[in-house]
Symmetry: C2
Subunit: 309 residues, 2 copies
């Protein structure tokens, strides 16, 4: 079975980390959101791509879910001493990635070529694609400050602003990265990881041709919401800001047109009946992935569920 996962950052990284133990590397591809990417201090920073790649390379920080393990903060402290902005924490090892990526981009390599290069270096065997090589920035319309780039909303303002809507700057001309449509074409199963529906999965779906290419596919999603709360990140807060009570049900609703199946937590079991009424097959299990064994277990369950009917 060939599987393609659509992933954002920390939640996506946990599930794909589990999935890679269940699948032959040649049968597993990951398409990663790059709408969070931004230029900071002149450097191209790709938070979701790095979180996914560091996790698959076993060099991620297990405490935070993002950044590198055994990290130091010499440069970041130095920036603080110069009065520079420190709202985005830049670890020293992590900075090496941003610097080398920026250098390779300036030499004319594409983001997908650089991602492949880094993955090879790190021994990552599954194929990781940025959704697009073209810059596409998620802009958040906030009640308090108007339009701001996603990382400012997410990290600088710690999601405290009220979200009114989103815009993906550049999405109209963003083409899927080379290999993305081919991977989807060959896939037997598409998995939407437990990532933010608006600013991770929708971003990927908005790239030219991607939504159309998956319509005939078997698609399952794993809820990023458990008992009304996001495991990580601003998903639940965004629901509330948009006037929607955050729940697994509302996530399933968001993807309704696309889904074959939906995996939700035991805590949200009561949502299953309604989801089933929509023609989506619900699958209830524990979806929190606090450790590797739970990542593997959920990945296995998801794959078995997807071939069960």
């Amino acid at each position: 079975m060939k599987v393609v996962a659509f992933a954002g950052g920390v939640g996506g990284a946990k599930l794909v980390d589990g999935l890679r133990y269940c699948l032959d590397p040649k049968d597993f591809s990951i398409i990663v959101n790059t709408g969070d990417d931004f230029v900071h201090f002149g450097l191209k920073i790709c938070p979701d791509l790095d979180t996914i790649c560091y996790t698959l390379a076993n060099i991620s920080n297990p405490e935070t879910g993002w950044g590198r393990k055994e990290e130091s903060w010499r440069v970041w402290e130095g920036i603080g001493e110069l009065g520079g902005p420190t709202w985005f924490r830049l670890g020293d090892k992590d900075l090496a990635t941003h610097l080398e990526r920026t250098r390779l981009l300036s030499q004319g390599l594409s983001l997908s070529e650089i991602t492949t290069k880094l993955c090879n270096l790190w021994g990552v065997q599954v194929k990781v694609y940025p959704m697009s090589d073209d810059p596409c920035s998620t802009i958040v319309f906030t009640k308090e400050l108007g339009e701001i780039p996603f990382q400012e909303y997410f990290v600088k303002h710690q999601t405290k602003l009220t979200v009114e809507s989103f815009r993906f700057n550049g999405i109209d001309s963003a083409m899927p990265a080379p290999g993305v449509l081919e991977a989807i074409f060959e896939a037997d199963l598409i998995i939407f990881c437990p990532s933010n529906p608006w600013v991770s999965i929708d971003t990927i779906l908005s790239v030219q041709g991607i939504r159309q290419s998956i319509i005939q596919k078997r698609i399952i999603a794993v809820s990023p919401i458990i008992a009304g709360h996001a495991v990580k990140g601003p998903a639940a807060k965004m629901f509330q800001d948009l006037g929607i009570v955050p729940s697994a049900l509302r996530v399933a609703d968001h993807y309704k047109e696309l889904l074959w199946g939906f995996i939700l937590d035991s805590a949200d079991e009561t949502d299953a009946a309604m989801i089933n009424q929509w023609g989506i097959i619900p699958y209830v299990t524990r979806i929190l992935m606090p450790d590797l064994s739970n990542r593997k277990r959920l990945a296995e369950e998801a794959l078995q569920f997807a071939v069960s009917f």
Copy 2:
């Protein structure tokens, strides 16, 4: 007495470090070569400016003469692990400077505004000017590789290539940084530091209006050559490549039209007579500055010499 020093990197930093102990900060300005500046990993790097500022801020590495003291190399090691270029050593604290400068440039601040900001932060009391806010890159014509940027010649190839000539890319449109011509206008004395005549001092002299502005001034130079050798950097090697025997005499010759006085080492005393014949007043002393007391002593001697006639 108001003094303006023209300076390159390590040699210039030593002399200006001595001079600042002899002069009221309001009477001392330094105009620094920016022809060595380059963009590396997307970051604007200004080697001479940083060497001068770090030295005046007492945060420079006393062993190397460049870079920061108590430096670490986490990012640079990380770049090496990614297979990136490590020929230009980037310390972690030093990187904070490059990152913050790059960020401020992208916000529209000029290099001179940023230099002033950093100097204020570091408690540097004398005025440090980049020669120009406009990019101007020293290009070295080499026999082996043709045209290459200065830092590649100097650091990557360790000056091992044969120099045929130089070109200052962008010099025709490079204007003096704000304050440079005013500082020169008010100066009673101009000092050419013991820096490279071709790629440090000539670069400054080539910026629009600078050479003309100093013609009527009392100018002294300190030789960067002692007994046929450069104290630091590629000056002597450049002389040889250009078919000139490196000597204090040839340095004085290079600046002949401009100089009132020339300070050379006791080891080169025999050059003094010829220099005198050219109408330049020679001053012979020990010009090596291995420590702060020698920096102060040479600075005091230079200032006394300059007012002695």
